[in-house]
């Protein structure tokens, strides 16, 4: 019977080619969208690396109204004033590269036989504590480190593993941004561009004018008491304005920034998934229409088959198998091309993303096609043979 159905399909290859193409295109679109979704949602499972709850960020820019030496004194005064506020628990400074700043400073060289490349933030010694970051090995910066003879660095696990492998790098000296740099600790993660950011090489450099004086401390990071409400920002604002003698600053709520950053990533995902649902509906309706029309045209054939011995079940089997075979062939073609992406390493993305894309696209296509094929096939099986034979 299977051979007989193959013959039927082959002899109608002209008409079947369009159906095959429709399913193939649907498969490719589904594969692309699902791979994109998996690529993004996979990254949600990696930790962000810092806390946002009860955190506020103040951006005040370069403070060009002060010279270099005064600027340091002003920032020290700002820190003291903010810490004097009842509901401010911690204050730390950092450069332009920080949580949700959409800014990157990156370094790359291949000194000492290692390809050392990482994006870095220049921060004050209490940055890790203020932002609730997690040191997994080594130690945090301390106030005493300001007198260190090396530039001090804390790298994330990805940086250490990808650059040095299994080697213990704590207290090792490496060249970084033109200065001898000592790795003093390893933090678990630092995805400062948000939860959807891929885990990449990230390091923190301790702010020290001797090694990285170019990096101005343009942002203040605050850890607040949980009871501090939005109205409390007024007090902070007054303090910042009176200390920095400028009104060019922004106070931002970290949870809000995080939410906004997530939303920016969820919107295209949801939009694409919505488009996929419409695509599946369109394909389903198209298939349903084509199959209903096709089966209607084959009423006499149904009548004949019933007359010569086919029962209702074999009619359903035949029509469903015909469509599923075509859909399977389309999926096979699609999967053949799709699988080339991970095999040939076309994109620098974990290959399991594409394999899952292929698997789920296949399942969705086959489920949609089966549903669309079953109903017209059941209708065909219910055609009364005497009436069907008489209609032709």
């Amino acid at each position: 019977m299977i051979k007989h159905i193959f013959i039927l399909i082959w002899n109608k290859k002209g008409a079947n080619a369009l159906l095959l193409l429709e399913v193939l295109l649907a498969f490719i679109v589904l594969f692309a969208v699902l791979s994109f979704v998996f690529y993004n949602t996979d990254r949600l499972s990696d930790p962000l690396g810092f806390e946002t709850e009860n955190r506020k960020y103040i951006s005040y820019g370069d403070l060009d109204n002060f010279n270099d030496s005064t600027r340091i004194l002003v920032l020290e005064e700002l820190k003291r004033s903010l810490l004097d506020l009842e509901l401010v628990e911690e204050v730390s400074f950092g450069n332009d590269v920080g949580p949700f700043k959409s800014s990157n400073w990156c370094h790359g060289n291949d000194d000492l036989g290692f390809d050392i490349s990482a994006c870095y933030s220049v921060v004050e010694y209490d940055f890790i504590k203020t932002n609730g970051m997690n040191i997994v090995e080594g130690r945090d910066f301390t106030e005493h480190d300001l007198n260190a003879t090396y530039q001090l660095m804390i790298g994330n696990q990805t940086f250490i593993e990808e650059t040095f492998g299994e080697k213990n790098m704590i207290d090792s000296i490496i060249p970084f941004q033109g200065a001898e740099t000592k790795i003093i600790g390893i933090m678990d993660e630092y995805k400062y561009n948000g939860e959807f950011e891929e885990s990449a090489n990230r390091v923190l450099l301790l702010s020290n004018p001797e090694f990285n004086g170019y990096a101005r401390m343009t942002n203040a990071y605050l850890k607040m008491d949980p009871s501090a409400d939005v109205a409390y920002e007024e007090k902070i604002s007054y303090m910042v304005e009176s200390t920095l003698k400028t009104s060019s600053y922004v106070i931002q709520d970290a949870p809000l920034l995080r939410k906004r950053s997530n939303l920016e990533n969820w919107i295209p995902i949801v939009a694409l998934l919505g488009m996929c649902v419409f695509l599946c509906l369109n394909v389903a309706l198209g298939l349903f229409g084509v199959l209903s029309y096709s089966i209607n045209r084959r009423k006499a054939e149904v009548g004949l088959r019933r007359a010569i011995g086919a029962h209702a079940g074999s009619i359903i089997q035949q029509f469903t198998f015909e469509v599923l075979f075509l859909a399977g062939l389309a999926v096979l073609f699609g999967a053949f091309f799709a699988v080339q992406i991970p095999i040939m390493n076309v994109m620098d993305v974990d290959s399991s993303v594409f394999y899952r894309g292929i698997l789920y696209a296949t399942l969705i296509v086959l489920v949609v096609v089966t549903i669309c094929a079953l109903y017209p096939s059941i209708q065909a099986s219910r055609i009364h043979p005497a009436i069907a034979l008489h209609e032709d």
Binding site: H4, K12, L304, R305, A307, I308, G309, H311, A386, L389
Partner: protein, 221 residues
Amino acid sequence: MIKLQNVNKVYRTKTIETTALSDINLNIDKGEFLSIMGPSGCGKSTLLNIIGLLDEPSGGEVNIGGNALPNYNTKAMAQFRNQQLGFIFQSFHLIPDLTVRDNVELPLLYRKVGGKDRKRMAEEALESVGLKNRVSHFPNQLSGGQKQRVAIARAIVGNPEIILADEPTGNLDSVMGNEVMDILLELNSKNDTTIVMVTHDENMAKKTHKLIRLYDGQQVA
């Protein structure tokens, strides 16, 4: 072989009730060639469908090959049609996307006959109707007479005991019609196959053993 007692067939819609057959009594013996005649709409095809287990009577008793119709469920009826009956239709009902051989093999597919045996049996059936050289042709490459001969080959390929022919010469000219009729007569005489044929053609009907006439669903002769 085929016994019908007081068979009625009534088609009902919400508003109209149409009697297609009324009190039909029929006894067809094995090896008999019966023709059914009558004007259009008199119930000839309905009667043939009931004999062929394609339709159920509204009343009366149908007994085919010793089995009463109520003893069959739909699957058993399908199996019975496959193994005991052969159908020939006025409009041939060949599947246009299958070759002549594949069309003839169809009943054997539902009998789960193996591929090699199917091919051999189909070619034998085609040889018996003089079409062995057309096995790879498609129906649209054949004349009307050839199409009907393919349909006959399909009807006889499983060696059925009964052949039901619904106006087999209706779409053919007289020469081709006579050719088809000769094949049916040969089948009947050589293989002792019981044949029930619906026809409008008096000359064809005269060649058969027995003739019944229907008028407005009633047996008049």
